[in-house]
Symmetry: C2
Subunit: 340 residues, 2 copies
DNA sequence: GCTGGCACTCCTGGCGACAGAGTGCCAGTC
DNA sequence: GACTGGCACTCTGTCGCCAGGAGTGCCAGC
């Protein structure tokens, strides 16, 4: 059975009202608040069909209807028009992001901005190392047998690691290693570096090989294998809006999931170019998050994508607004990164 | 009116039972669970006095008694013996912290460890820059008019900032500036650097002075004035243990406060040497946290203190256990830092 | 100064009644 | 055939009531 236009319109109205009021919506209030042009009784018939099809449900007989996950899905896919950001919001984004002094600052500001605009929990991934290129490697001698390795990526990320050398190294040694390493690795994508790093060791003068090997192993372990993804979270307090009603009474599982970086990375780490992904309720693979929805997208300078960002909230969420905001913020952040 | 020993014993019993059961405790169950050697009626009299003095209160007539903030305070100050950590806990701490590869990792592991052991919200401040010394300054040319300034502190912190130069600088220029800066600043406490940085500019050859001035201003702004304190949080999900009972029904204000880094810094940033600070309920200056208690202490290599850490939970908290854990973790982290 | 006893207070949970909201269905109308 | 008005039905939430239980405060006695 297919749904005619009016039934879809009814579904849209139900979603919109429920998102706004947080209360099951009945046929009478529906015709009052929307220009449906039919009587409550007709709407009731439509609702019965929508329920049959699994798009809405009744918490109990004789309460109003509430959208199901499938209902939200249909709404997002077919019924919601993109809600353009207000000029005030655009200005807010610009004002907020301008003046960031470094990458940490950018991420920090972005995540807070997202949380504030959407009034949800925001997550921003740092630019992924796997998608970055080496801009520069620096070796800073700390003592004769210790070097601090600093890698600066084109995305602005800076990683450092202390390297314990097998034996003492002279300033000349360090200079030479540094020169060589930069020569070979600068400009390379991090994911392409493993063979280059290996070659680096072979090219070294025999007496420096031990030191270089040591350095190389740390380099590999740190920057590629461990491939440290970092992220930042903000707005958890927003989970408490809407009282205890959302999240079936307890924030517990949601807060627990938010503590796991691995989970968060899964959430926002889809990174398909310029697509905004919406996961609604049960569509989430993480059990703890089956009562939430996640809107995420990738960001990066120009068309490339270096990281993900997104927000998480109750399934009862303003999808059009949230999607628009997430997209806009991602674009602004991308532009910001492009400037470097 | 002073409190004799038995009354104090009664208070201790009330606190212990309430912390454990989370329910108002009555005179009868009290004599059953503790060897007080007197009858419930006597305990009731003592309780009346304790209530008079403000150490306990009744949620309503004919419920049991609950400790007040003042009651907890007295308990912490005079009634609780330090609870030594179990060998298992000690092992857990060691196992958890060993193998940290850099400062980020140390802080990360520490905060999770603390949250796990105390089952509360944990906060760990990164070593404060104000309390660090410069170990090394590195200038990395990114382009002819851009330098990345990397500062490595003795505490392991690494800060970087992109510097936009007024005009192009040669490799020689950069080398020279780097040499000079390190000569003057290495080993200095960051808080002592401002005059030295100023002197640095004056000493420069005139044609390099512009560049150096630019560098100097970023250096000052970044490392001293903005004096960026960072921190890390974990265990917010623990706030939901104990149901909705703690925190007078809503996590909202607590979660909000936890989002504000400034507030968190105030909480754990007392940093009196080797003293553990306990703030109970109303003793907190932050309104949003009046229903919580905070146990915090400083940590650092040896006797010096470079940062703070602590936990936050409901006033109904296992103070002896929490205090012991916070102290122990702080000591371990200090030792770890001392090894570098 | 401690104790047993007793009356009192107040919370809690179960029960029934009732109003309100919303539905499903049916017969009637366009 | 689609829509509508009307009506009976169901379920929730709330209120008042009552009994049970827990815990206290107080008092007289030891």
């Amino acid at each position: 059975m297919s749904l005619d236009d009016r039934k879809l319109e009814v579904l849209r109205a139900i979603v919109e009202d429920y998102v706004e009021t947080q209360e099951p919506v009945g046929s009478k209030s529906l015709v009052e608040r929307h220009q449906l042009g039919v009587s409550p009784a007709t709407v009731r018939n439509d609702m019965a069909v929508l329920e049959e099809e699994g798009y809405i449900r009744q918490p109990h007989t004789s309460a109003g209807r509430v959208p199901t996950d499938a209902g939200y899905r249909l709404f997002v896919d077919r019924l919601s028009r993109v809600k353009p950001l207000s000029p005030a919001e655009r200005r807010a984004i610009e004002r907020f992001l301008i003046g960031a002094v470094d990458l940490d600052d950018v991420v920090h500001r972005t995540v807070r901005l997202l949380a504030q605009l959407t009034r949800q929990v925001a997550v921003v991934q740092y630019p992924s190392l796997a998608r970055s290129s080496v801009r520069h490697l620096e070796l800073v001698p700390i003592s004769t047998t210790r070097i601090m390795l600093v890698m600066i990526a084109d995305t602005g990320r800076v990683e450092q690691r202390l390297v314990e050398l097998p034996g003492p190294a002279t300033a000349d040694d360090v200079m030479e290693l540094r020169r060589k390493a930069n020569e070979k690795l600068a400009g390379q994508r991090l994911s392409d570096t493993p063979p280059l790093v290996a070659a680096l060791v072979d090219e070294c003068a025999p007496d420096r090989r031990g030191t270089m090997a040591c350095l190389a192993s740390v380099l590999l372990e740190t920057l590629v294998e461990r491939s440290e993804e970092r992220l930042m979270l903000a707005g958890t307090a927003n989970l408490t809006r809407g009282g205890v009603l959302d999240f079936q009474g307890t924030l517990r599982p949601v807060l627990e999931a938010l503590e796991e970086e691995v989970i968060l990375l899964k959430l926002i780490g889809d990174l398909e170019p310029s697509k905004t992904r919406v996961r609604i309720g049960d569509e989430n693979e993480i059990d703890n998050l089956r009562s939430t929805s996640v809107v995420s997208t990738g960001y990066g300078p120009g068309a490339t994508i270096v990281g993900g960002l997104g927000v998480l909230g109750p399934t009862r969420m303003d999808y059009p607004g949230t999607i628009a905001t997430v997209r806009a913020v991602a674009r602004y952040v991308g532009d910001l990164l492009a400037q470097n």
